[in-house]
């Protein structure tokens, strides 16, 4: 089945130790998104790739970076995680273009704990 996969599902890191979260998709969608969701809050868009074009949200901290080496994969790098970065990180994809309607397909999320 076509899907969005996130690895790992649970990630524990130490304060200040870089961490990378992974997302892959078999939907062949041209847009990939990263969201941060804290407990009982709305998902907050960090950035997205439209094809190879990177689009950062204005309020996303510099501590967060992303890479998209090909259509299928997208990575979220947190250079120096702080305690406030503990959250669920959600990857999503969508097919954008003529006739598309912006439905997004989400992965199961990676729960990040910062010690």
């Amino acid at each position: 089945d076509a899907m969005v996969i996130q690895n790992p599902r649970y990630q524990v890191t130490q304060f200040g130790k870089p961490v990378t979260l992974s997302c892959s998709q078999t939907l062949n969608h041209n847009v990939m998104y990263w969201y941060q969701q804290k407990s009982s809050q709305a998902p907050k868009l960090l950035f997205h790739y439209y094809d190879k074009d990177f689009n950062n949200e204005a309020d996303t901290p510099d501590n967060f970076q992303s890479r998209r080496p090909n259509t299928s994969f997208c990575f979220l790098d947190i250079r120096s995680p702080g305690l406030g970065d503990a959250a669920m990180y959600l990857c999503a994809t969508s097919r954008e273009g003529t006739g598309s309607y912006n439905e997004q397909f989400f992965g199961p999320g990676t729960r990040l704990t910062v010690l």
Binding site: A42, L45, L90, A92, S100, E103, G109, R111
Partner: protein, 109 residues
Amino acid sequence: SQQGEEDPQALSIQEGENATMNCSYKTSINNLQWYRQNSGRGLVHLILIRSNEREKHSGRLRVTLDTSKKSSSLLITASRAADTASYFCATALSYKLSFGAGTTVTVRA
């Protein structure tokens, strides 16, 4: 930034009852979408309603949209225990979504 505001924040109902939740937003939209999130999981798309539509149905779901009031409602009829989840509205102006804080629905057996 978060655009949608959802009401109520939490809802507890008996199995078989209907559940209604509301979403208000602030700016123009192309469409409005509803998503479900089970505890600790990703979001699942439920239904999309375009800005020129007023009502849409999908199975036990009914969504309304009033663009003059900038509001939408989601009705789940004949609720089941499996409907226990958080429900989020999301507004789309281009292809990016802006989510509300969600309504947590608990369906009691």
